[in-house]
Symmetry: C2
Subunit: 411 residues, 2 copies
């Protein structure tokens, strides 16, 4: 039997205690388990953003581009994250939205692999991933096609000499299933395809080793476990051996070798930075920089200890406290196959999720019967996991979730 004092003991050993203290405390006593959607706000974001607005926009105006680090921010942010991705400091940059970066790198990889014409992805990959691939195939035409698989077991049969890129989410956005990246990349490379990964549901929750494990291209969002704020810029990674093989697909001035030379013709910046396209949102980058200073201070092994600890605790507590109340953990039992969040099912999941909100626990419901709890190692304590499961047990025991006021199904 796990007790609250076990949780407090784990918190006393938490290597990310100091990081956790640097997040803003919300107005209410709420446990936010929606880090898989939008992460917590570092406490110094308002101060940083206000300084940008007054000293930068109001007073410096266009001179901000030379007085401050507006121009360098996209790669400075990347440098802060590189060690948690297992890539070189110069091999990752922040820019644009996740969907736009997915398009940029998928199109880049697809072109490098010409005349191969097939993109392999999961039928139930996160929607925008599939849409971007569908849109690209439709745009380029000329025999380009998607080959959809239903999970890891289907992958070997989908691989042949026509496959240009295999394009997967490292962790499934519903079940949390996390692919074995090294083994999968070996399989993909065996047929001469490139391996492209969307790490939105992993980066910032679990430190990975993209270069060691053979990822060719990778993209992730900045707003989930990376705590960059609503709609924060996304990061992109290109393996060093592929960085100089061609121009970026969207050739913009921020990816030009000399941005303020106003040269008449395009020439790409060195390395991955060529994939920067237009002027970045400086507000978004400054907000994100608060989180970046936190990433910088975190050792990969500490992030992984903490996430494993939270995830293991959550599964054990859900089973111990709520197993007899209809809760069934649907995420993989093996921790190594789990991404950032835990998913569980309950027949009344929609209403339970609503009732939980009213009891100060923010999770997210997915039709038909699933609830997801995002486990942010930076922002959460073990005691909060205890509190969340305790409140869930209460909601289920008292059957308060059956009240009509909770019948509304949340988005």
């Amino acid at each position: 039997m796990i007790t609250l004092s076990d949780c407090l003991e784990l918190d006393a050993r938490d290597p990310l205690r100091d990081v956790r203290a640097r997040f803003a405390t919300p107005a209410e006593d709420t446990v936010y388990l929606d880090g898989n959607s939008l992460g917590a706000m570092p406490a110094d974001v308002p101060e940083r953003v206000n300084a940008l607005l007054l000293d930068g926009w109001r007073d410096a105006r266009r001179r901000g581009w030379s007085h401050f680090d507006w121009l360098e921010k996209p790669w400075l942010l990347g440098e802060s994250l590189a060690h948690l991705l297992g890539v070189g400091a110069r091999d990752v940059v922040f820019s644009d939205s996740t969907s736009v970066n997915l398009f940029k790198l998928l199109a880049y990889g697809w072109k490098l692999q010409s005349p191969r014409r097939v993109i392999v992805t999961e039928r139930e990959n996160f929607p925008t991933d599939v849409y971007v691939a569908e849109g690209l195939a439709r745009f380029v035409g000329d025999g380009a096609q998607l080959r959809l698989i239903d999970g890891p077991d289907d992958l070997p049969a989908a691989l042949d000499g026509d496959v240009a890129v295999v394009y997967l989410s490292h962790a499934d956005y519903r079940s949390g299933y996390r692919w074995d990246m090294a083994a999968t990349n070996r399989l993909i490379h065996g047929c001469g395809a490139l391996a492209m990964w969307d790490l939105s549901h992993v980066a910032g929750a679990i430190a990975v080793e993209l270069e060691r494990d053979g990822a060719d291209l990778a993209v992730g969002c900045g707003y989930k476990y990376l705590c960059g704020g609503p709609g924060a810029p996304s990061w992109l990674y290109v393996h060093p051996r592929l960085q100089h093989r061609d121009w970026p697909v969207i050739a913009g001035w921020m990816g030009h070798e000399d941005v303020f030379a106003f040269a008449q013709r395009y020439a790409p910046l060195d390395g991955v930075r060529r994939h920067l396209a237009g002027s970045p949102s400086i507000l978004a980058n400054v907000a994100l920089s608060a989180a970046a200073d936190l990433w910088k201070s975190i050792r990969p092994e500490d992030l992984n200890w903490k996430h494993r600890s939270l995830s293991t605790l959550m599964v054990a507590l859900l089973e111990q406290r709520c197993g007899a109340l209809g809760v069934k953990v649907t995420s993989p039992a093996d921790y190594d196959r789990r991404g950032g969040h835990i998913a569980f099912s309950h027949p009344g999941a929609g209403s339970v999720s609503e009732a939980l909100l009213a009891h100060g626990v923010v999770g997210s419901f997915r039709k038909p019967d699933s609830i997801r709890f995002g486990l942010s190692p930076m922002a959460l304590s073990h005691a909060q996991i205890w509190t969340a499961v305790d409140r869930l047990a209460q909601v289920l025991q008292t059957e308060v979730w059956r009240e009509p006021r909770f019948a509304h199904v949340s988005v």
Copy 2:
């Protein structure tokens, strides 16, 4: 002879007086004539952004997507601008950077025009415009090519049955030359090509009539005369008759017909909104919304009266006060052929620009001998035009610009 009191009299008649009062006052007594680069900050931006950070990000977290207008913002911002572009309220949206939107629409137009393979643009178009077209042609291959012209006189000879899209900046970023849009579009349509315009140096300075004048596709930045902040999202417009012809090139979930349905396959949203791709930066959109409330309050004819008045005054004062001191206005003499800014030459332009900065006038220098003054009708008064030219005359008369401390050439 124009006097200061003439300027004050014009200010008394300024229909945008109330709009001007809603901008923040910078710390120093500076005249910012760099609205062609980064516009002024509406005074209520910090308050709006702080509310977003605390009530939205910190407290509501992911629920912000249903509690606030985060999802609708891209088209609400577009609706606020539509009347100043002369387009339907539903025909313009804000998203992504200018370069990314240029790519999205150029690629869309190019595909609609298949099998035509040629994109016509100006050799000295703004660099990112040319780069995006070069990058697109390289990516699609298959005979796609750029045909570069050196100005309006070259256009007729460049048009034939191979031309897919003619892709121009409405106003030149150096000289300020503004194309006659209606006449140019007639010419372009005469050969069956589409007309695509970058309005970055016009929108927010001069109200235009995109639909009446036959523009097919248009893009503009949010940070210059629209005063949306550093790296603000960009807008894009697609003529209604072209909106439903195909999928967007970047098919992302924000452009799906039911974004939170998490459907497995892509289906485009109705109209221009399909070109929204990934999650927008909510911070950037909230900052931009302060300016959008100003656009909404402005009648097109008032914007145009004010801009014409500022531009005419600036040219007259430059000639009257500085003509004998080496200043030569290089922007077109005909107001109807001038965009948002005025450009003038001076043999010591780089140093003059630096000296002006030290004397509280922010313009921008372009090699080899040009200075640009951006004329924002929303943020500037006629008296400020007087002050700026007065300071320029002083700098030139005293020859203070020859001092070694001003020898540095600004970017």
